[in-house]
Protein backbone atom coordinates (compact mmCIF):
# COMPACT_ATOMS: atom_id res chain seq x y z
CA UNK A 1 0.00 0.00 0.00
CA UNK A 2 1.62 3.22 -1.12
CA UNK A 3 0.17 6.40 0.24
CA UNK A 4 0.23 9.22 -2.29
CA UNK A 5 0.44 12.05 0.20
CA UNK A 6 1.80 10.86 3.54
CA UNK A 7 1.81 14.45 4.76
CA UNK A 8 -1.98 14.58 4.50
CA UNK A 9 -2.34 11.29 6.33
CA UNK A 10 0.00 12.24 9.16
CA UNK A 11 -1.46 15.72 9.35
CA UNK A 12 -4.95 14.27 9.73
CA UNK A 13 -3.76 11.86 12.40
CA UNK A 14 -2.08 14.68 14.30
CA UNK A 15 -5.23 16.76 14.03
CA UNK A 16 -7.25 13.87 15.44
CA UNK A 17 -4.73 13.48 18.25
CA UNK A 18 -5.15 17.15 19.10
CA UNK A 19 -8.87 17.70 18.53
CA UNK A 20 -10.19 14.30 19.63
CA UNK A 21 -9.15 14.44 23.29
CA UNK A 22 -10.10 18.12 23.43
CA UNK A 23 -13.65 17.29 22.32
CA UNK A 24 -13.78 14.40 24.76
CA UNK A 25 -12.68 16.73 27.53
CA UNK A 26 -15.29 19.33 26.64
CA UNK A 27 -18.05 16.71 26.48
CA UNK A 28 -17.11 15.33 29.88
CA UNK A 29 -15.26 12.18 28.77
CA UNK A 30 -12.58 12.69 31.43
CA UNK A 31 -11.85 8.99 31.84
CA UNK A 32 -11.29 8.60 28.10
CA UNK A 33 -8.85 11.53 28.19
CA UNK A 34 -7.03 9.85 31.05
CA UNK A 35 -6.72 6.62 29.07
CA UNK A 36 -5.50 8.52 26.01
CA UNK A 37 -2.89 10.17 28.21
CA UNK A 38 -1.77 6.72 29.34
CA UNK A 39 -1.55 5.65 25.71
CA UNK A 40 0.78 8.61 25.21
CA UNK A 41 3.02 7.53 28.09
CA UNK A 42 3.15 3.97 26.78
CA UNK A 43 3.93 5.28 23.29
CA UNK A 44 6.92 7.12 24.69
CA UNK A 45 8.07 3.97 26.49
CA UNK A 46 7.57 1.78 23.43
CA UNK A 47 9.36 4.22 21.11
CA UNK A 48 12.31 3.95 23.48
CA UNK A 49 12.17 0.19 23.75
CA UNK A 50 11.80 -0.04 19.97
CA UNK A 51 15.31 1.38 19.60
CA UNK A 52 16.76 -1.63 21.43
CA UNK A 53 14.36 -4.34 20.28
CA UNK A 54 13.28 -3.11 16.87
CA UNK A 55 16.41 -1.45 15.49
CA UNK A 56 19.22 -3.22 17.29
CA UNK A 57 17.54 -6.58 17.89
CA UNK A 58 18.41 -6.71 21.61
CA UNK A 59 15.58 -8.26 23.60
CA UNK A 60 15.01 -6.27 26.77
CA UNK A 61 12.60 -7.74 29.33
CA UNK A 62 13.24 -5.26 32.12
CA UNK A 63 12.55 -1.91 30.53
CA UNK A 64 10.20 -0.91 33.33
CA UNK A 65 13.27 -0.52 35.54
CA UNK A 66 14.19 2.68 33.70
CA UNK A 67 10.64 3.93 33.79
CA UNK A 68 10.81 3.35 37.56
CA UNK A 69 14.18 5.09 37.87
CA UNK A 70 12.77 8.10 36.03
CA UNK A 71 9.60 8.13 38.10
CA UNK A 72 11.38 7.87 41.46
CA UNK A 73 14.03 10.41 40.53
CA UNK A 74 11.29 12.80 39.43
CA UNK A 75 9.19 12.21 42.52
CA UNK A 76 12.07 12.61 44.97
CA UNK A 77 13.32 15.82 43.37
CA UNK A 78 9.82 17.24 43.12
CA UNK A 79 9.22 16.55 46.80
CA UNK A 80 12.53 18.31 47.47
CA UNK A 81 11.04 21.36 45.75
CA UNK A 82 12.56 21.38 42.26
CA UNK A 83 10.42 22.31 39.28
CA UNK A 84 9.64 19.84 36.51
CA UNK A 85 11.73 21.69 33.94
CA UNK A 86 14.79 21.48 36.16
CA UNK A 87 14.09 17.86 37.03
CA UNK A 88 13.77 16.79 33.41
CA UNK A 89 17.44 17.19 32.44
CA UNK A 90 18.50 15.56 35.72
CA UNK A 91 16.26 12.58 35.01
CA UNK A 92 17.67 12.30 31.52
CA UNK A 93 21.17 12.18 33.01
CA UNK A 94 20.25 9.70 35.73
CA UNK A 95 18.32 7.44 33.34
CA UNK A 96 21.04 7.52 30.72
CA UNK A 97 23.86 6.85 33.18
CA UNK A 98 21.94 4.02 34.88
CA UNK A 99 21.27 2.44 31.51
CA UNK A 100 24.90 2.80 30.49
CA UNK A 101 26.12 1.27 33.75
CA UNK A 102 23.88 -1.75 33.23
CA UNK A 103 24.74 -1.93 29.54
CA UNK A 104 28.52 -1.82 29.82
CA UNK A 105 28.99 -5.28 31.36
CA UNK A 106 26.04 -7.08 29.79
CA UNK A 107 25.86 -5.91 26.20
CA UNK A 108 28.39 -8.49 25.05
CA UNK A 109 25.90 -11.20 26.03
CA UNK A 110 23.95 -12.60 23.15
CA UNK A 111 20.25 -13.00 22.49
CA UNK A 112 18.35 -14.67 25.24
CA UNK A 113 21.05 -14.24 27.85
CA UNK A 114 20.81 -10.49 27.51
CA UNK A 115 17.04 -10.84 27.85
CA UNK A 116 17.46 -12.71 31.12
CA UNK A 117 19.93 -10.21 32.56
CA UNK A 118 17.58 -7.32 31.78
CA UNK A 119 14.73 -9.30 33.36
CA UNK A 120 16.80 -9.81 36.50
CA UNK A 121 17.76 -6.14 36.60
CA UNK A 122 14.11 -5.15 36.27
CA UNK A 123 13.16 -7.36 39.18
CA UNK A 124 16.07 -6.16 41.32
CA UNK A 125 15.01 -2.55 40.78
CA UNK A 126 11.44 -3.30 41.78
CA UNK A 127 12.46 -5.37 44.82
CA UNK A 128 14.90 -2.75 46.06
CA UNK A 129 12.27 -0.01 45.72
CA UNK A 130 9.84 -2.26 47.54
CA UNK A 131 12.17 -3.12 50.42
CA UNK A 132 13.90 0.19 50.93
CA UNK A 133 12.15 2.40 53.45
CA UNK A 134 14.43 5.41 53.83
CA UNK A 135 14.49 6.57 50.23
CA UNK A 136 11.65 4.95 48.31
CA UNK A 137 9.25 4.38 51.23
CA UNK A 138 8.79 0.67 50.38
CA UNK A 139 5.49 -0.67 49.09
CA UNK A 140 3.63 2.43 50.29
CA UNK A 141 5.30 4.45 47.57
CA UNK A 142 5.88 8.17 47.21
CA UNK A 143 4.97 10.78 48.30
CA UNK A 144 4.79 10.10 52.03
CA UNK A 145 2.06 11.58 54.16
CA UNK A 146 2.50 15.35 54.28
CA UNK A 147 4.68 15.50 51.19
CA UNK A 148 3.53 16.39 47.71
CA UNK A 149 4.72 15.93 44.16
CA UNK A 150 4.17 19.33 42.59
CA UNK A 151 2.20 19.62 39.40
CA UNK A 152 3.95 20.85 36.29
CA UNK A 153 3.65 24.52 35.41
CA UNK A 154 4.40 26.06 32.05
CA UNK A 155 4.99 29.82 31.86
CA UNK A 156 3.06 30.24 35.08
CA UNK A 157 0.16 28.12 33.90
CA UNK A 158 -0.37 25.09 36.11
CA UNK A 159 -1.08 21.86 34.21
CA UNK A 160 -3.70 20.43 36.50
CA UNK A 161 -6.25 18.56 34.37
CA UNK A 162 -5.59 15.40 32.41
CA UNK A 163 -6.12 17.29 29.17
CA UNK A 164 -3.33 19.75 30.02
CA UNK A 165 -0.91 16.95 30.77
CA UNK A 166 -2.11 15.16 27.66
CA UNK A 167 -0.87 17.98 25.44
CA UNK A 168 2.47 17.95 27.24
CA UNK A 169 2.70 14.18 26.68
CA UNK A 170 1.72 14.65 23.03
CA UNK A 171 4.55 17.14 22.60
CA UNK A 172 7.02 14.67 24.10
CA UNK A 173 5.65 11.87 21.91
CA UNK A 174 6.14 14.04 18.82
CA UNK A 175 9.73 14.73 19.86
CA UNK A 176 10.13 10.98 20.47
CA UNK A 177 8.82 10.18 16.99
CA UNK A 178 11.13 12.76 15.46
CA UNK A 179 14.15 11.38 17.34
CA UNK A 180 13.25 7.80 16.35
CA UNK A 181 12.72 8.78 12.74
CA UNK A 182 15.96 10.73 12.44
CA UNK A 183 17.81 7.96 14.25
CA UNK A 184 16.44 5.30 11.92
CA UNK A 185 17.69 7.19 8.88
CA UNK A 186 21.02 8.25 10.31
CA UNK A 187 24.43 6.64 10.08
CA UNK A 188 23.95 5.38 13.64
CA UNK A 189 20.56 3.88 12.78
CA UNK A 190 21.94 2.01 9.82
CA UNK A 191 24.77 0.75 12.01
CA UNK A 192 22.20 -0.54 14.51
CA UNK A 193 20.30 -2.40 11.79
CA UNK A 194 23.57 -3.84 10.52
CA UNK A 195 24.31 -5.14 14.01
CA UNK A 196 20.84 -6.69 14.19
CA UNK A 197 21.33 -8.41 10.87
CA UNK A 198 24.78 -9.79 11.51
CA UNK A 199 26.99 -8.64 14.32
CA UNK A 200 30.15 -10.12 12.89
CA UNK A 201 29.63 -8.64 9.45
CA UNK A 202 28.89 -5.27 11.04
CA UNK A 203 32.12 -5.43 13.02
CA UNK A 204 34.04 -6.30 9.87
CA UNK A 205 32.44 -3.37 8.08
CA UNK A 206 34.11 -1.10 10.59
CA UNK A 207 31.28 -0.53 13.06
CA UNK A 208 32.33 -0.28 16.67
CA UNK A 209 29.71 -2.78 17.84
CA UNK A 210 30.14 -2.35 21.58
CA UNK A 211 29.96 1.44 21.46
CA UNK A 212 27.07 1.55 18.99
CA UNK A 213 25.02 -0.88 21.09
CA UNK A 214 25.76 1.15 24.21
CA UNK A 215 24.59 4.36 22.54
CA UNK A 216 21.33 2.74 21.40
CA UNK A 217 20.82 1.22 24.84
CA UNK A 218 21.38 4.60 26.53
CA UNK A 219 19.03 6.51 24.21
CA UNK A 220 16.25 4.03 24.87
CA UNK A 221 16.82 4.27 28.61
CA UNK A 222 16.41 8.04 28.41
CA UNK A 223 13.00 7.60 26.75
CA UNK A 224 11.95 5.39 29.64
CA UNK A 225 13.19 7.79 32.31
CA UNK A 226 11.46 10.80 30.72
CA UNK A 227 8.18 8.88 30.52
CA UNK A 228 8.58 7.96 34.18
CA UNK A 229 9.13 11.53 35.31
CA UNK A 230 6.09 12.79 33.41
CA UNK A 231 4.02 9.97 34.85
CA UNK A 232 5.11 10.73 38.43
CA UNK A 233 4.20 14.41 38.02
CA UNK A 234 0.92 13.60 36.34
CA UNK A 235 -0.49 11.00 38.71
CA UNK A 236 1.20 12.48 41.76
CA UNK A 237 1.76 9.07 43.31
CA UNK A 238 4.07 6.17 42.51
CA UNK A 239 4.64 2.76 44.05
CA UNK A 240 6.78 -0.24 43.06
CA UNK A 241 3.63 -2.09 42.00
CA UNK A 242 3.47 -0.09 38.77
CA UNK A 243 6.82 -1.40 37.57
CA UNK A 244 6.34 -5.15 37.44
CA UNK A 245 7.81 -7.71 35.09
CA UNK A 246 4.39 -8.14 33.51
CA UNK A 247 4.44 -4.48 32.48
CA UNK A 248 7.82 -4.89 30.81
CA UNK A 249 6.45 -7.90 28.99
CA UNK A 250 3.39 -5.98 27.85
CA UNK A 251 5.66 -3.30 26.35
CA UNK A 252 7.46 -5.97 24.36
CA UNK A 253 4.09 -7.36 23.24
CA UNK A 254 2.96 -3.95 22.04
CA UNK A 255 6.06 -3.60 19.89
CA UNK A 256 5.90 -7.11 18.46
CA UNK A 257 2.16 -7.09 17.76
CA UNK A 258 2.31 -3.62 16.21
CA UNK A 259 5.38 -4.26 14.10
CA UNK A 260 8.96 -4.17 15.32
CA UNK A 261 11.21 -1.43 14.03
CA UNK A 262 8.36 0.56 12.50
CA UNK A 263 7.30 3.72 14.31
CA UNK A 264 3.71 3.60 13.02
CA UNK A 265 3.48 -0.09 13.92
CA UNK A 266 4.73 0.53 17.44
CA UNK A 267 2.14 3.27 17.99
CA UNK A 268 -0.60 1.02 16.62
CA UNK A 269 0.50 -1.75 19.00
CA UNK A 270 0.23 0.63 21.97
CA UNK A 271 -3.21 1.80 20.87
CA UNK A 272 -4.42 -1.76 20.58
CA UNK A 273 -2.97 -3.16 23.80
CA UNK A 274 -3.69 -0.23 26.09
CA UNK A 275 -6.95 0.63 24.40
CA UNK A 276 -8.34 -2.89 23.96
CA UNK A 277 -8.99 -3.69 27.66
CA UNK A 278 -10.67 -0.28 28.08
CA UNK A 279 -12.85 -0.73 25.00
CA UNK A 280 -13.72 -4.25 26.13
CA UNK A 281 -14.63 -2.81 29.50
CA UNK A 282 -17.01 -0.40 27.81
CA UNK A 283 -18.62 -2.78 25.34
CA UNK A 284 -18.87 -5.94 27.41
CA UNK A 285 -21.21 -4.31 29.88
CA UNK A 286 -21.13 -4.68 33.63
CA UNK A 287 -21.74 -8.40 33.84
CA UNK A 288 -18.94 -9.43 31.46
CA UNK A 289 -16.38 -6.88 32.51
CA UNK A 290 -14.42 -9.53 34.41
CA UNK A 291 -13.91 -11.48 31.23
CA UNK A 292 -12.02 -8.72 29.48
CA UNK A 293 -8.53 -9.87 30.47
CA UNK A 294 -9.44 -13.42 29.47
CA UNK A 295 -10.42 -12.15 26.03
CA UNK A 296 -7.36 -9.94 25.94
CA UNK A 297 -5.10 -12.99 26.40
CA UNK A 298 -6.92 -14.85 23.64
CA UNK A 299 -6.73 -11.87 21.28
CA UNK A 300 -3.00 -11.62 21.89
CA UNK A 301 -2.50 -15.27 20.92
CA UNK A 302 -4.66 -14.94 17.80
CA UNK A 303 -3.04 -11.66 16.73
CA UNK A 304 0.44 -13.11 16.81
CA UNK A 305 -0.59 -16.37 15.11
CA UNK A 306 -2.20 -14.55 12.20
CA UNK A 307 0.39 -11.77 11.91
CA UNK A 308 3.66 -13.10 13.39
CA UNK A 309 5.52 -10.20 11.76
CA UNK A 310 3.25 -7.66 13.43
CA UNK A 311 0.38 -5.69 11.99
CA UNK A 312 2.52 -3.02 10.35
CA UNK A 313 5.97 -4.55 9.94
CA UNK A 314 8.86 -2.34 8.91
CA UNK A 315 9.51 -2.53 5.19
CA UNK A 316 13.02 -3.79 5.63
CA UNK A 317 11.94 -6.51 8.03
CA UNK A 318 9.07 -7.60 5.79
CA UNK A 319 11.51 -8.09 2.94
CA UNK A 320 13.81 -10.14 5.14
CA UNK A 321 10.98 -12.37 6.23
CA UNK A 322 10.05 -13.06 2.65
CA UNK A 323 13.50 -13.82 1.34
CA UNK A 324 14.81 -15.71 4.34
CA UNK A 325 14.04 -19.40 4.59
CA UNK A 326 12.70 -20.37 8.03
CA UNK A 327 15.20 -21.17 10.78
Amino acid sequence: MKLPRPIILYGTLLLIAIVGPLLLHLTGGYYAVHVIGLIGIYTLLCLGLNITIGYTGLLDLGFMAFYAIGAYTGALLSIAGLSFWLILPITIMVGGVARLLLGAPVLRLRGDYLAIVTLAFGEITRLVLNNNDTISNGPKGLPRVGEKIQSISLFGFELRDDIHIYFLILAFVLVGILVSYRLEHSRLGRALVAIREDELAAELAGINVARTKAVAFTISGIFGAVAGTIMAHWIGFISPESFTFMESILLVSMIVIGGMGNIAGVILGVLLLVGAPELLRKFLGAQFVDYRMLLFGAVMILAIIFRPQGILPSKRRALELKSENPK
Partner: protein, 298 residues
Protein backbone atom coordinates in the same frame (compact mmCIF):
# COMPACT_ATOMS: atom_id res chain seq x y z
CA UNK B 1 21.37 -22.63 62.09
CA UNK B 2 23.48 -23.43 59.02
CA UNK B 3 22.31 -27.06 58.78
CA UNK B 4 18.73 -25.95 59.33
CA UNK B 5 18.95 -23.46 56.46
CA UNK B 6 20.42 -26.18 54.24
CA UNK B 7 17.40 -28.36 54.99
CA UNK B 8 15.02 -25.52 54.12
CA UNK B 9 17.08 -24.78 51.03
CA UNK B 10 16.94 -28.38 49.85
CA UNK B 11 13.15 -28.36 50.16
CA UNK B 12 12.83 -25.12 48.29
CA UNK B 13 15.43 -26.29 45.80
CA UNK B 14 13.49 -29.49 45.06
CA UNK B 15 10.48 -27.46 44.01
CA UNK B 16 12.58 -25.06 41.91
CA UNK B 17 14.41 -27.96 40.28
CA UNK B 18 11.21 -29.77 39.25
CA UNK B 19 9.76 -26.52 38.02
CA UNK B 20 12.94 -25.53 36.17
CA UNK B 21 13.00 -28.80 34.21
CA UNK B 22 9.98 -27.69 32.19
CA UNK B 23 11.68 -24.44 31.20
CA UNK B 24 14.93 -26.06 30.28
CA UNK B 25 13.43 -28.97 28.33
CA UNK B 26 11.28 -26.69 26.20
CA UNK B 27 14.20 -24.36 25.64
CA UNK B 28 16.26 -27.35 24.63
CA UNK B 29 13.96 -28.42 21.81
CA UNK B 30 12.41 -25.11 20.69
CA UNK B 31 14.84 -22.40 21.90
CA UNK B 32 11.94 -20.50 23.41
CA UNK B 33 11.26 -19.16 26.88
CA UNK B 34 7.92 -20.71 27.80
CA UNK B 35 6.36 -18.02 29.96
CA UNK B 36 3.15 -20.01 30.25
CA UNK B 37 4.96 -22.65 32.30
CA UNK B 38 4.37 -20.71 35.52
CA UNK B 39 0.62 -21.00 34.87
CA UNK B 40 0.95 -24.76 34.39
CA UNK B 41 2.51 -24.82 37.86
CA UNK B 42 -0.41 -22.81 39.23
CA UNK B 43 -3.00 -25.05 37.58
CA UNK B 44 -1.21 -28.08 39.06
CA UNK B 45 -1.53 -26.56 42.51
CA UNK B 46 -5.28 -26.07 42.00
CA UNK B 47 -5.78 -29.63 40.76
CA UNK B 48 -4.05 -30.91 43.88
CA UNK B 49 -6.24 -28.58 45.92
CA UNK B 50 -9.50 -29.97 44.55
CA UNK B 51 -8.46 -33.60 44.72
CA UNK B 52 -7.22 -33.17 48.28
CA UNK B 53 -10.52 -31.62 49.26
CA UNK B 54 -12.61 -34.30 47.53
CA UNK B 55 -10.66 -37.49 48.27
CA UNK B 56 -11.53 -38.00 51.96
CA UNK B 57 -15.21 -38.20 51.00
CA UNK B 58 -14.59 -40.92 48.44
CA UNK B 59 -11.76 -43.12 49.63
CA UNK B 60 -10.63 -44.39 53.03
CA UNK B 61 -7.50 -42.54 54.13
CA UNK B 62 -4.72 -44.75 52.77
CA UNK B 63 -1.87 -42.29 52.51
CA UNK B 64 0.23 -43.95 49.75
CA UNK B 65 -2.89 -44.34 47.59
CA UNK B 66 -3.73 -40.69 48.15
CA UNK B 67 -0.25 -39.67 47.06
CA UNK B 68 -0.50 -41.75 43.93
CA UNK B 69 -3.86 -40.27 42.97
CA UNK B 70 -2.99 -36.66 43.71
CA UNK B 71 0.38 -36.56 42.03
CA UNK B 72 -0.73 -38.88 39.24
CA UNK B 73 -3.68 -36.67 38.38
CA UNK B 74 -1.73 -33.45 38.69
CA UNK B 75 1.02 -34.80 36.43
CA UNK B 76 -1.40 -36.15 33.85
CA UNK B 77 -3.66 -33.14 33.70
CA UNK B 78 -0.97 -30.46 33.60
CA UNK B 79 0.98 -32.54 31.09
CA UNK B 80 -2.04 -32.66 28.79
CA UNK B 81 -2.64 -28.96 29.33
CA UNK B 82 0.95 -28.15 28.37
CA UNK B 83 0.62 -30.26 25.20
CA UNK B 84 -2.63 -28.49 24.31
CA UNK B 85 -0.99 -25.09 24.81
CA UNK B 86 1.89 -26.13 22.59
CA UNK B 87 -0.42 -27.37 19.88
CA UNK B 88 -2.68 -24.32 19.85
CA UNK B 89 -0.38 -21.43 20.66
CA UNK B 90 3.19 -22.42 19.73
CA UNK B 91 3.03 -24.90 16.87
CA UNK B 92 1.53 -22.43 14.34
CA UNK B 93 4.51 -20.18 15.11
CA UNK B 94 7.26 -22.78 14.69
CA UNK B 95 8.76 -20.91 11.72
CA UNK B 96 7.78 -17.39 12.75
CA UNK B 97 10.29 -14.76 13.95
CA UNK B 98 11.79 -15.71 17.29
CA UNK B 99 9.86 -13.24 19.41
CA UNK B 100 6.47 -14.42 18.15
CA UNK B 101 6.12 -17.57 20.33
CA UNK B 102 7.22 -15.48 23.32
CA UNK B 103 4.24 -13.18 22.78
CA UNK B 104 1.81 -16.02 22.37
CA UNK B 105 3.20 -17.58 25.57
CA UNK B 106 2.40 -14.32 27.37
CA UNK B 107 -1.10 -14.43 25.90
CA UNK B 108 -1.55 -17.97 27.20
CA UNK B 109 -0.28 -16.89 30.60
CA UNK B 110 -2.76 -14.00 30.85
CA UNK B 111 -5.56 -16.25 29.59
CA UNK B 112 -4.94 -19.10 32.05
CA UNK B 113 -4.51 -16.79 35.04
CA UNK B 114 -7.80 -15.07 34.34
CA UNK B 115 -9.55 -18.34 33.60
CA UNK B 116 -8.56 -19.69 37.02
CA UNK B 117 -9.38 -16.40 38.69
CA UNK B 118 -12.86 -16.36 37.19
CA UNK B 119 -13.42 -20.04 37.98
CA UNK B 120 -12.29 -20.13 41.61
CA UNK B 121 -12.05 -16.52 42.70
CA UNK B 122 -9.27 -13.98 43.19
CA UNK B 123 -8.69 -14.59 46.89
CA UNK B 124 -5.99 -16.99 48.14
CA UNK B 125 -7.19 -20.37 49.33
CA UNK B 126 -5.78 -22.41 52.23
CA UNK B 127 -4.47 -25.78 51.10
CA UNK B 128 -6.47 -28.67 52.61
CA UNK B 129 -4.59 -30.31 55.47
CA UNK B 130 -5.64 -33.79 54.54
CA UNK B 131 -2.34 -35.33 55.50
CA UNK B 132 -1.42 -33.50 58.65
CA UNK B 133 2.20 -32.59 59.21
CA UNK B 134 4.46 -34.63 61.43
CA UNK B 135 7.42 -32.79 62.99
CA UNK B 136 10.70 -34.55 63.59
CA UNK B 137 13.70 -33.33 65.49
CA UNK B 138 17.25 -34.61 65.10
CA UNK B 139 19.77 -33.04 67.46
CA UNK B 140 18.14 -29.63 67.26
CA UNK B 141 17.27 -29.73 63.53
CA UNK B 142 13.63 -29.52 62.57
CA UNK B 143 12.32 -31.49 59.64
CA UNK B 144 8.67 -32.05 58.85
CA UNK B 145 7.00 -34.77 56.85
CA UNK B 146 6.17 -32.42 53.98
CA UNK B 147 9.82 -31.53 53.56
CA UNK B 148 10.73 -35.20 53.41
CA UNK B 149 7.95 -35.85 50.91
CA UNK B 150 8.98 -32.93 48.70
CA UNK B 151 12.63 -33.91 48.66
CA UNK B 152 12.02 -37.64 48.08
CA UNK B 153 9.41 -37.22 45.39
CA UNK B 154 11.54 -34.71 43.48
CA UNK B 155 14.57 -36.97 43.59
CA UNK B 156 12.51 -39.96 42.39
CA UNK B 157 11.03 -37.98 39.50
CA UNK B 158 14.38 -36.54 38.51
CA UNK B 159 16.07 -39.94 38.49
CA UNK B 160 13.18 -41.29 36.43
CA UNK B 161 13.53 -38.41 33.97
CA UNK B 162 17.27 -38.91 33.69
CA UNK B 163 16.75 -42.62 32.96
CA UNK B 164 14.08 -41.75 30.41
CA UNK B 165 16.34 -39.29 28.61
CA UNK B 166 19.40 -41.52 28.56
CA UNK B 167 17.97 -45.03 28.24
CA UNK B 168 14.90 -44.94 26.02
CA UNK B 169 14.37 -44.45 22.30
CA UNK B 170 12.14 -41.45 22.93
CA UNK B 171 14.78 -39.91 25.17
CA UNK B 172 17.35 -40.36 22.46
CA UNK B 173 14.98 -38.79 19.93
CA UNK B 174 14.53 -35.86 22.29
CA UNK B 175 18.25 -35.28 22.52
CA UNK B 176 18.48 -35.49 18.73
CA UNK B 177 15.72 -32.92 18.22
CA UNK B 178 17.41 -30.62 20.72
CA UNK B 179 20.53 -30.75 18.57
CA UNK B 180 19.02 -30.27 15.14
CA UNK B 181 15.41 -30.38 13.96
CA UNK B 182 16.03 -30.92 10.27
CA UNK B 183 18.60 -33.65 10.64
CA UNK B 184 16.41 -35.48 13.18
CA UNK B 185 13.58 -35.39 10.69
CA UNK B 186 15.87 -36.85 8.05
CA UNK B 187 16.70 -39.66 10.48
CA UNK B 188 13.00 -40.53 10.64
CA UNK B 189 12.13 -38.84 13.91
CA UNK B 190 8.69 -37.29 14.11
CA UNK B 191 9.69 -33.97 15.62
CA UNK B 192 6.12 -32.95 16.40
CA UNK B 193 5.62 -36.03 18.57
CA UNK B 194 8.93 -35.47 20.33
CA UNK B 195 8.08 -31.84 21.03
CA UNK B 196 4.65 -32.86 22.35
CA UNK B 197 6.24 -35.44 24.66
CA UNK B 198 8.70 -32.81 25.86
CA UNK B 199 5.87 -30.47 26.74
CA UNK B 200 3.96 -33.30 28.43
CA UNK B 201 6.86 -34.25 30.69
CA UNK B 202 7.92 -30.68 31.41
CA UNK B 203 4.34 -29.61 32.10
CA UNK B 204 3.62 -32.64 34.27
CA UNK B 205 6.70 -32.05 36.40
CA UNK B 206 5.71 -28.39 36.71
CA UNK B 207 2.23 -29.45 37.87
CA UNK B 208 3.69 -31.74 40.54
CA UNK B 209 5.93 -28.89 41.66
CA UNK B 210 2.78 -26.77 41.99
CA UNK B 211 1.13 -29.32 44.30
CA UNK B 212 4.31 -29.55 46.39
CA UNK B 213 4.46 -25.77 46.59
CA UNK B 214 0.86 -25.69 47.82
CA UNK B 215 1.56 -28.31 50.46
CA UNK B 216 4.70 -26.54 51.64
CA UNK B 217 3.36 -22.99 51.88
CA UNK B 218 -0.22 -23.94 52.72
CA UNK B 219 -2.00 -21.42 50.50
CA UNK B 220 -2.53 -20.88 46.80
CA UNK B 221 -3.69 -18.06 44.58
CA UNK B 222 -4.35 -17.58 40.89
CA UNK B 223 -1.15 -15.56 40.38
CA UNK B 224 1.06 -17.75 42.58
CA UNK B 225 3.07 -19.03 39.60
CA UNK B 226 4.79 -15.78 38.76
CA UNK B 227 7.60 -15.35 41.29
CA UNK B 228 8.49 -19.07 41.60
CA UNK B 229 8.35 -19.09 37.79
CA UNK B 230 11.00 -16.41 37.47
CA UNK B 231 13.11 -18.18 40.07
CA UNK B 232 12.76 -21.59 38.46
CA UNK B 233 13.73 -19.98 35.21
CA UNK B 234 16.71 -18.41 36.97
CA UNK B 235 17.61 -21.87 38.24
CA UNK B 236 17.47 -23.24 34.70
CA UNK B 237 19.78 -20.47 33.48
CA UNK B 238 22.07 -20.93 36.46
CA UNK B 239 22.58 -24.56 35.52
CA UNK B 240 22.87 -23.80 31.82
CA UNK B 241 19.62 -23.49 29.95
CA UNK B 242 18.73 -26.45 27.78
CA UNK B 243 20.70 -28.78 30.05
CA UNK B 244 18.56 -31.15 32.13
CA UNK B 245 21.15 -31.97 34.77
CA UNK B 246 21.93 -28.28 34.97
CA UNK B 247 18.32 -27.42 35.81
CA UNK B 248 18.36 -29.89 38.72
CA UNK B 249 21.64 -28.60 40.11
CA UNK B 250 20.61 -25.01 39.44
CA UNK B 251 17.34 -25.54 41.29
CA UNK B 252 19.04 -26.90 44.40
CA UNK B 253 21.76 -24.25 44.23
CA UNK B 254 19.18 -21.47 44.04
CA UNK B 255 17.07 -22.98 46.83
CA UNK B 256 20.04 -23.24 49.17
CA UNK B 257 21.30 -19.79 48.23
CA UNK B 258 17.89 -18.31 48.94
CA UNK B 259 17.54 -20.08 52.29
CA UNK B 260 21.03 -19.03 53.36
CA UNK B 261 20.55 -15.41 52.38
CA UNK B 262 17.19 -15.38 54.14
CA UNK B 263 18.82 -16.81 57.26
CA UNK B 264 22.06 -14.85 57.33
CA UNK B 265 21.60 -11.64 55.39
CA UNK B 266 18.00 -10.47 55.11
CA UNK B 267 14.77 -12.22 54.31
CA UNK B 268 13.58 -9.11 52.51
CA UNK B 269 16.50 -9.11 50.14
CA UNK B 270 16.68 -12.85 49.45
CA UNK B 271 15.11 -12.43 46.01
CA UNK B 272 17.44 -9.55 45.19
CA UNK B 273 20.41 -11.75 46.07
CA UNK B 274 19.09 -14.54 43.84
CA UNK B 275 18.87 -12.14 40.89
CA UNK B 276 22.26 -10.57 41.56
CA UNK B 277 23.80 -14.05 41.51
CA UNK B 278 22.01 -14.71 38.23
CA UNK B 279 23.49 -11.57 36.66
CA UNK B 280 26.96 -12.37 37.94
CA UNK B 281 26.80 -15.93 36.64
CA UNK B 282 25.67 -14.74 33.24
CA UNK B 283 28.28 -12.02 32.99
CA UNK B 284 31.19 -14.22 33.99
CA UNK B 285 29.96 -17.57 32.74
CA UNK B 286 27.15 -16.95 30.27
CA UNK B 287 26.51 -20.59 29.56
CA UNK B 288 25.69 -21.40 33.18
CA UNK B 289 27.36 -23.96 35.40
CA UNK B 290 26.81 -26.93 33.10
CA UNK B 291 26.14 -25.21 29.79
CA UNK B 292 28.11 -26.40 26.84
CA UNK B 293 30.09 -23.93 24.84
CA UNK B 294 28.28 -23.83 21.51
CA UNK B 295 30.36 -22.61 18.62
CA UNK B 296 28.73 -19.70 16.85
CA UNK B 297 27.68 -20.59 13.33
CA UNK B 298 28.89 -18.07 10.79
Amino acid sequence: MFAQQIINGLTLGSIYALFALGYTMVYGVLLMINFAHSEIFMVGAYIGFFILALLPGILPPIIPLYFLIIFGFALLFTGVLAVAVEKMAYRPLRHAPRLAPLISAIGVSIFLQNLVMLAVGAESKPYPETFGVAQFEFSGLHVNSHQILIFTLSIVLMVALQLFITRTRMGKAMRAVAQNHIVSQLMGINTNTVIAVTFFIGGGLGGVAGVLNGLYYGSIKYNMGFLPGIKAFTAAVLGGIGNIKGAMVGGFALGILEALSAGYISSEYKDVIAFVVLILVLVFRPTGIFGEEVAEKI
